[in-house]
Amino acid sequence: MDFSSSELMAYRASLELKDADVVFVGIGLPNLACNLARETHAPNLCLIYESGAVGAVPERLPVSIGDPALVTDSLAIVGMADIFQSYLQRGFIEVGFLGGAQVDRWGNINTTVIGDYKNPKVRLPGSGGACEIAIHARKLFLVMKMNPKSFVEKCDFITSPGNRSNGKTRKEWGLPGSGPLTAITDLGVCTFIDGEMTLTETYPGVSLEKIKTSCGWPLKIASDLKTCPPPSPAILKLLREKLDPQKLFLG
């Protein structure tokens, strides 16, 4: 059966979600993963968007996290002060997803600049809510495509702290959230072991060599390397016909 790496990423990410989890959702693949989980094993997932939508049930795939489809029929709409103070900082967000332009072995993420901060080669959008999600989410998952430009030895700028940043571990910084637990990429899945990204699953038909050359540092490989099971035809049908028919996020 044929499927794209984006479809596989969305499917694999959905497996990390448990029913009734309270999830802080971004746009793109994480959003697809959440909607897939709701359609399959986690019907009571509570989707929260930083825009203030709580328990959203979007009729259409939202193009932005402030889409009106996230408001209609939500369980609650609250101000952003409540989202960041009473939901996130209070510790009620159980799952967060992040991605970015660069990630290092400790799961530090850069969404700010490529190059020097004051004189950047590329000016990226910045943190948005990413920094506080990285700090407070009880369980943090990374969803990013893997290549030597994005999986780097050292981030040009640490927007969102991972398991070890600026010379200290999370514990030493006293960060309340879990920090990155899993990185779901288009080539395989990495688990953070002792805080460091370690390849634990490859995708069907992806060679270990391909993965190694796609990572900017000598990636640790788990001794018991598994192959990620491919999505079933039913899952693919859901993704293609119901969840992203316009292929907005599924390449």
Binding site: G28, E50, S51, A53, V63, S64, P120, G174
Partner: protein, 296 residues
């Protein structure tokens, strides 16, 4: 709108046009461009297209923000052209995360000079911005980050309905509109509908901004396009996608501003240019909720 802007704003002011995706008042942004204000400090969590247009038009000296992109589409090209190594002209940037910006509005709206938050440890953001500082809890001894209060000279708040005194009601996403209105020195309320005060009084829990905080009230239907107003019109996602093309090239960008900003006298003319078909495509399909009982 013309009079509200001209009498409330001056060159060099700190301005905030609030609204998170929802209720972004493009009508106000375009009027500011037409009146040619300069050296503004433009403050928003998400500068969005409206601030990118202010930047391209040369109104902005400094941008205070937390996420600068075209949501789900791409970059803000006027900003990138003024903030990267190869840029010939530059604007000043002051950068936070969303929570940091929300906290700055909370401080400003609460009359405190600072706001404490559990954030930024391990991140480079505090290193890049010296205004992010620390404070020690008098009970636990832990360090917490602080951000300074924002009290902009002018806040522009778009809402579904308001009365002539500026009592403004909003539903759907509320962003940080309330905090911005209470933090600012002057407030302009822009409404899709001007209603009689008794409509406001019938449902007082929906009032986001009380009239005594408001200096000007402007009636501007479709004032947010290409942003949206819940219950009135949808977000013009197609335009946001097209914008990537329009804005990447300075010539097409200039043509857009010439036609849709400088080429129109006001919002009415903008809507005529937009055309019936676009408005019909975006007009909201009604989803009324029931009322509640305020009796005793």
């Amino acid at each position: 709108m013309r009079e509200a802007i001209s009498s409330s704003l001056k060159n060099g002011d700190q301005i905030v046009i609030e609204g998170f995706t929802h209720l972004i008042c493009f009508a106000a942004g375009h009027e500011i461009i037409r009146q040619g204000f300069k050296d503004l400090t433009a403050i928003r969590l998400t500068p969005d297209l409206v601030y990118d247009q202010l930047i391209e038009a040369g109104c902005v000296k400094k941008l205070v923000f937390s996420w600068a992109g075209n949501p789900g589409v791409g970059s803000l090209h006027a900003l990138r052209r003024r903030s990267e190594a190869k840029s010939t002209e530059r604007i000043e940037l002051e950068e936070y995360s969303h929570f940091g910006m929300v906290a700055r509005f909370l401080a400003g709206s609460s009359g405190l000079p600072f706001w404490p938050l559990s954030n930024y440890k391990g991140s480079d953001l505090a290193k890049a911005n010296p205004l992010i500082r620390e404070i020690v809890c008098p009970y636990t001894g832990e360090n917490f980050s602080t951000v300074p209060a924002l009290n902009p000279d002018l806040a522009i708040i778009h809402c579904q309905r308001a009365d002539k005194d500026g009592n403004a009601q909003v539903w759907g996403l509320m962003g940080t509109q309330k905090e911005a209105a209470f933090a600012a020195k002057k407030v302009i309320v822009v409404a899709e509908e001007i209603v009689d005060t008794h409509v406001i009084r019938k449902d007082p829990n929906r009032t986001l901004v009380p009239g005594f905080r408001v200096n000007h009230v402007v009636h501007e239907p479709w004032g947010c396009h290409p942003s949206y107003t819940q219950g009135f019109y949808d977000r013009d996602n197609d335009f946001y996608v097209q914008w990537e093309e329009i804005s990447r090239d300075t010539k097409t960008y200039k043509n857009y501003l010439d036609e849709f900003v400088f080429g129109v006298r006001d919002r009415k003319e903008y809507l005529q240019k937009l055309g019936e078909k676009t408005l019909a495509r975006l007009k909201a399909k009604s989803r009324m909720c029931e009322g509640v009982d305020y009796g005793f």
